[in-house]
């Protein structure tokens, strides 16, 4: 084993050994720690900005794109945002110790299902340093230790954030081993995490599709998969004109770079013939490029021809695919074929079509007369978001604190044997 890999395993072992103590912290311990982390981070603003500058400089020397440099950059405002995040997470209800369920068996056994931490979460993420702060806080709140593997381009920033968190932990008498940042940021070291089953209970990739797929494909540790969204808005024959246009515009343009933004708008042909031009023009007014099928092209001069590839493309920018259908069934069939099971919306005043859409489609979130943009932990009222799960096991859709927990059964008897 190379030095790098043995360092990863040593760090993994330390984080695992500390997890038991973290899991036993009281709600007050954890909230006091989060508030101490907030205070310390604000105090460390100068250091954080200095360390961040090293990453920025190296990034520019290495020719990183302006967009990546921007994501990497810390500012007083961004540091304050992270500190506020700590306070916000402190204010959330503690899920650990909650009794999820309880019942009595005919033989008198009292069974309780109690919420407990997962143990150790491994987080593999890309450039944004704020993920370091956010993931550490979410894990600590849920009694989990955390092994963070950020990208090499953000190493100095991440290290400074973890140092600040460690200082707060020391002040609160909590073992700093529970928040580990991988010292080795090589790809080889990240791959090593995939098989550290004895030290990690879950792996959570946060970043682009390439990163997520690499983790899903190669990890023998259970993964919380947050994935791509090829989201659809279907506008039915009976859809109210203004509501349909507002929802389509919002779903496509309010923040096109995120996974719950719409990528294809499907129109009932009758609605399209009445209001299609107006919708297309409204999209174009918002700088959206339209790629449509033949019927859509007939509605407006400014529509490019959609190819087969457009139906499955996650543009993540101001481009949209548009197609017409004869009825709700055809819309459902199209979405089943091309959707990724993230978020799908129908705009309709017809009860039967609404029911067909909501029952026959299977996705993390289905909407009637609302924008797909609401698929979000904060919008759902969870007060936090680990990510949006597109897998079906453990958690599906927006993940709040509960996604970082497991359960144990506690059974009270008075001498029962089988």
């Amino acid at each position: 084993m190379s030095n790098a890999l043995s360092t990863m395993r040593e760090q993994g072992k330390k984080v695992k050994q500390s997890s038991d103590q973290i899991g036993q912290l009281t709600t007050k311990d954890k909230n006091d720690l989060l508030l101490a982390m907030r205070e310390q981070l604000l105090k460390d603003t100068g250091t954080l900005l200095r360390e961040n500058e090293k990453d920025i400089q190296a990034g520019m020397d290495n020719g990183l794109s302006t967009a990546l440099i921007d994501r990497l950059r810390l500012s007083e405002e961004r540091i304050e945002g992270m500190a506020q995040g700590f306070e916000q997470i402190a204010s959330l209800e503690d899920p650990i110790g909650q009794m999820i369920d309880s019942w009595e068996r005919p033989n008198g056994l009292q069974i309780q299902k109690i919420r407990v931490p997962l143990g150790v979460a491994g987080i593999i993420y890309e450039a944004r340093p704020n993920v370091t702060a956010d993931a550490a806080a979410l894990c600590l709140k849920t009694g989990n230790a955390v092994f963070l593997r950020g990208s090499s381009s953000a190493y100095h920033s991440n290290k400074a954030i973890v140092s600040s968190i460690h200082d707060a932990m020391i002040r609160q008498g909590i073992p700093t081993d529970a928040v580990q940042l991988a010292e080795d940021t090589s790809r080889e070291a990240a791959s090593e995490m995939f098989t550290m089953n004895e030290y990690l209970d879950v792996l959570i990739p946060r970043g682009g599709a390439g990163l997520i797929q690499a983790v899903v494909k190669n990890s023998s540790i259970p993964v919380l998969e947050t994935g791509v969204g090829n989201c659809h808005v279907y506008i039915d024959e009976s859809a109210a004109r203004e509501m349909a246009i507002e929802i389509a515009i919002n779903a496509k343009t309010q923040r096109p770079s995120v996974c719950n933004a719409a990528e294809t708008i499907v129109l009932h042909e009758k609605w399209a013939s009445e209001h299609g031009y107006e919708l297309i023009q409204a999209l174009i007014d918002k700088d959206v490029e339209i790629r449509g099928d033949k019927n859509i092209q007939k509605l407006h001069d400014n529509v490019k021809e959609a190819t087969e590839k457009d139906w499955s493309e996650e543009y993540l920018d101001l481009t949209v695919a548009m197609k017409t259908v004869q009825d709700t069934d055809e819309a459902i069939t199209h979405i089943k074929q091309y959707g990724t099971g993230h978020s799908e919306a129908i705009v309709t005043e017809n009860e039967q079509n609404k029911q067909a859409f909501l029952q026959q489609l299977d996705a993390a979130a289905l909407y009637h007369n609302a924008s797909t943009r609401f698929t979000d932990g904060f919008e759902f009222g969870f007060g936090a978001e680990i990510g949006i799960s597109t897998q079906k096991l453990h958690a599906r859709g927006p993940m709040g604190l509960e996604a970082l927990t497991s359960s144990k059964y506690v059974v009270h008897g008075n001498g029962q044997i089988k």
Copy 2:
């Protein structure tokens, strides 16, 4: 790709394509199917016995052990057991479509969390042909299609069972593609299943530790891990003599071959000095071989010396490791070090020690004054058991029908945009 592997993928594709239709079946459709399967299986008893005989004969020719031949063998009674299983599963409440939760957001969005099928379950299992019937029924009841990969030694038996199920499906107008038995029973073909992410939503290994670890290590599909149990019974200072002896005897001897049987009995040294001899003698009377630490050896002549290896051994037979401790803390430390997080019991009349044990230990099931043998889907009242999960994600402990389900959010709006 070899022919074998392309056959696996073709079968995987078919089962995936059928899963949508299976997921939309009503509760009545599914229960009618299960009852039709019961009837058909009983009708096919003669065929099943004939086909099973081929496997038995081949097994004997290949020198399979008597124990394996016994597990492989069908009888009228065992076939009746499978048929009764179908009826029993039909009688259970249908989890699909249940509203798990619902709430309203300040913006008026109505959010519902609805229970849905997982999609397609892949089951990889060893010799017992009854798993074929059991797994198919559990999957169908929960609206899942199923891809079964049994062992080559049971191929004729498994094929006859699936044929019988198909006949019932045809009669009920349900696509037979939804229950596929892998035609290729090579290891290569089983490995192919590990990466069929586009067709399988979950993989469930059922069998020995070797099989389970191979699936966990190599699958890129989420796995429901059912694992080993190094279960402990800790008898505290204040434990009632008779209750403690009954629980220890039951946990060790009632069915030693299963994962929830006790493997180590930990005794408080004071309890041991008063009642240890009696417990050891009672175990010996049940043909149990005792491997003890020095203190245990002093109590009785018939105790072998325990080595380090004994503390982590899952004997699965009539052998037990025994050790003494000075207090509950030492017992907890031992169990944390050697336990596998399956089932742990404390026998005590002391409230404080009970609380320490139940709070500080983390396992799928923790017992106070009851036998570890109750960690079981039927004993918990689930009416069915997929297995006992020893992982922390998705399901932990005995898994009933709910473990084969996921959820989707259905959000009702009246024009909300973000």
